[in-house]
Amino acid sequence: MGKRSKVIEKEEVVVRFSGDSGDGMQLTGTLFSYTSAIFGNDISTFPDYPAEIRAPQGTISGVSGFQVHFGHSEVYTPGDYCDVLVAMNPAALKANAKWMKPGGTIILDVDSCDEKNLIKAGYETDDPIIEDKLGDYHIVKAPITTLTKESLKDMGLDNKSILRSKNMYALGLVYWLFDRPLDHTREYIQKKFAKKPLIVEANLKVLSDGYNYGNIIQAVTPSYHIHPADIKKGKYRNLSGNVAVAWGFLAAAEKSNLQLFLGSYPITPATEILQELSARKDLGVKVFQAEDEIAGICTAIGASFSGSLAITTTSGPGLALKGEAIGLAVMAELPIVIVNVQRGGPSTGLPTKTEQSDLMQALYGRNGESPVVVIAASSPTNSFDYAFYAAKVAVEHMTPVILLTDGFIANGTQPWLIPDLADWPEIKVPFVTEKIDDWHPYLRDPEKLSRYWATPGTKGFEHRLGGLEKDAVTGAVSHDALNHQRMVELREEKVQKVANFIPELEVIGEDDADLLVVGWGGTFGHLFTAVDELTHEGHNVALAHFNYIKPLPLNTKEVLKRYKKIVVCELNMGQFANYLTMNFPEFKYKKFNKVQGQPFTVIELKEHFITLLEE
């Protein structure tokens, strides 16, 4: 490695790879994040692709991006603003320049800045840097296309394949920028194209040439230095929220010794869970790709009746369709987990964007008094944990559980310390097998108020379930007035009893903080980072983040009571704040809401909290 003009020491860095949908930016970003993770940084990533399958080339709506945030200490979000932007065409520059940190570095493929592309991107002059007033950034105007062609000119590759390798050139250059080894990416290339040696060779060459190009331009380009993070020892892998959910259920199935059954219908951004579990025939998962969302949940309810660990996965509009059937599971008191990966609504809304606007739907989107447990994951990797716990609660308490994630954590990835299932809690399945004298289908566990699970095939426990109101004792159909009242109350109490089996709400920060920030679900990373930074900056701010929504943790009231100022931050119009108000009207909640299909930014959160502190 040669001498560098300037090395910028950083705690953490955000890099964004962006280009046209066809430019391979998702792969580039993924490879970079792997290398960083293996190097020992903590990372968080987020892909951001167009709503269209193949949006028009060269336009802003066709820009595909992949953001990697990595650092020397723990990293909780993919980052709001980036230090380094790789822009493979003018549209990528146009779309992303507003997300640059002051003083950052932009690597631009200047070859792509021809008139046609500039116009498509909406530039009016031939100098996008000047036009967008980017003079204060370090601009690396790299002729990436030319250099790639140059690099491969003697290899006998067709032009299309050559252009396809541009992304490896850019990646090589970024590796140089951060002084990272090429080994992992080399291995990947060799494995992936094993059957096409020429392509392997080309990609490896371009990667190195990109790296070396860094050496050539080092006199004028700053490079970055980020130490490895001090993270827990062990074996890691990258995990996205959607795969984490799938795997959480696999773990629960293994721990409970139940067969995993998924009934589902594809829908963005939840489809990947279905896809992952469809591939898990090796672990005996039965996946039923249903004709619609209703059949998705109904096959799962049937499988639950049969004694499987039954789940269904969907996103907002699909959850709306499942409402009636969820009510059946409530009445029949059968275990089932409904995963809702929230996206922008209402209606078809913004299907590829994130939002938290299905909370009320999860709580109340059914006829009658129809209580279910609602749990929300708050990061890509803890989606594994909450899928596991959702399954555990469903089975042990014989209740439907709605697990909420969102497009942001579902698509984002984080390094995941591979767990040993032996360390995870047992899941005790309330099967009945031996004859109990006064058994009846609605006999209840006194502690949980849940009934037992007698599954077809078990001799002596033949019984009938159904959606009509049931006698609290015999389980037979009952139209009795007082029995109905009792059952309505019992179903609610049963759900409330779950509170005795979940952890208490933890507060990050001091008991006497001047402001309690409250959040739930996928906003954790941003809220935590904002609160953490403010704390380091000397403010007394605390964070209470909820994963258990219904029932709320037992100490919720006690926590809220401690703080004079509470602000509930959500990516909706205030649904959780309203829910807290219903439950604890004695406290005042300020609301901070954003409904833009985008996560919060740490900066806007901090600004807002500071204003609140000063109020």
Binding site: K281, L283, S306, A310, L328, T455, P456, T458, E462, R464
Partner: protein, 338 residues
């Protein structure tokens, strides 16, 4: 026969009092199902009876087996889940013309297409009974009901035709009050692997009384229906002297002994033939042009969804290196932090 076959049909009666209207055809069907299950030597715990919502769908409550009275129209989907999750169970679905063909139409056709091993008993009374008398998707054009006071302007589905249109492999038809024949049909459906649809012409005494009478009435029944049996000639009539012959691509009723027709000219019923042509024609026959076909009209072997799911699992598991959660999470790209 196994010890299990000692079971009596009364063993399948639950302790719930049966609440259908006196005279409703459902009572007879309940008896037929219980008889068939006893004949089949089922044991109670291996049976799951799944229904949707409707008068007919209250059925599971009266069966001393596992049962699930679910929600309107979703019986097929729920039964599919029950069966796929545990293929060892005998899964019987009870449904009505509204439950199966109105709100449940999509699950009905998809279950048939997938060929999940269910025995589906479709109570066709051409009316919504439980909601007190609105026309259904099988009500005849012009039918007068509470929601069609001037007659419907819709053509009905013909369940057999729809079943075959959805690539169905088993379709049979019988009459509620003909217990013996109904029991036979149920035994055949049970023997068939894959989705078996039995359409039972059921009388709703209250809201659509006698709708099937033209053909089910004892006085005429033999002349106006034909009981098909695989491998047997298609002969019918009180005097067993009428039969079906092929006339070009059409079926035609002929009288044996007239126009030089002999028994040898009469078509032989082949329920097992893959081709749907004749099955469809038989299923679609309507009185008065034709006798209405009863019996097993179509019973053709085909891959069964729940079995395929199991065997694909087995195949993959045999070759896969991933045997446990642990294998999975340690496969692929991982790294160590030391």
């Amino acid at each position: 026969m196994s010890v299990e076959s000692q079971i009596k049909f009364t063993d399948f009666k639950s302790d719930q009092s049966v609440k259908w209207c006196p005279g409703c055809g459902d009572h007879a069907i309940l008896n037929s199902v219980q008889k068939a299950m006893a004949n089949l030597g089922y044991s109670k715990e291996e049976v799951a009876v799944i229904s949707g919502i409707g008068c007919s769908s209250r059925f599971p409550y009266y069966m001393e087996t596992y049962g699930f009275h679910t929600i309107h129209g979703r019986g097929s989907a729920i039964a599919s889940g029950v069966k796929v999750a545990n293929p060892r169970l005998k899964v019987w679905q009870i449904t009505g013309d509204g439950d199966a063909l109105a709100i449940g139409g999509n699950h009905f056709i998809h279950t048939i297409r997938r060929n999940v091993d269910l025995n589906v008993i479709l109570f066709n009374n051409q009316i919504y009974g439980l909601t007190k008398g609105q026309y259904s998707p099988t009500s005849k054009r012009g039918f007068i009901s509470k929601t069609s006071p001037f007659g419907t302007v819709e053509s009905p589905f013909r369940p057999g035709e729809l079943c075959i249109g959805a690539r169905g492999h088993f379709f049979a038809r019988c009459i509620d009050k003909d217990l013996k024949h109904s029991v036979e049909m149920m035994e055949e459906a049970a023997a068939h692997e894959g989705t078996s649809i039995i359409e039972i012409l059921q009388n709703c005494v209250i809201y659509n009384d006698k709708t099937h009478n033209a053909i089910t009435d004892k006085a005429h029944s033999e002349d106006r229906t034909i009981k098909l049996e695989h491998g047997k000639p298609m002969i019918f009539g009180k005097d067993r002297n009428k039969g079906l012959v092929l006339d070009g691509l059409n079926l035609k009723v002929e009288t044996i002994g007239q126009n030089g027709i002999t028994e040898a000219d009469i078509l032989i019923h082949d329920a097992h033939c893959e081709d749907t042509t004749l099955h469809l024609k038989l299923a679609d026959m309507e009185y008065p042009d034709y006798p209405v076909a009863l019996g097993v009209i179509r019973a053709v072997k085909a891959p069964v969804y729940d079995q395929c799911v199991e065997s694909q699992l087995n195949d993959v598991q045999e070759v896969s290196k991933i045997k446990s959660f642990k294998d999975l999470v340690h496969s692929g790209d991982t790294w160590d932090v030391e």
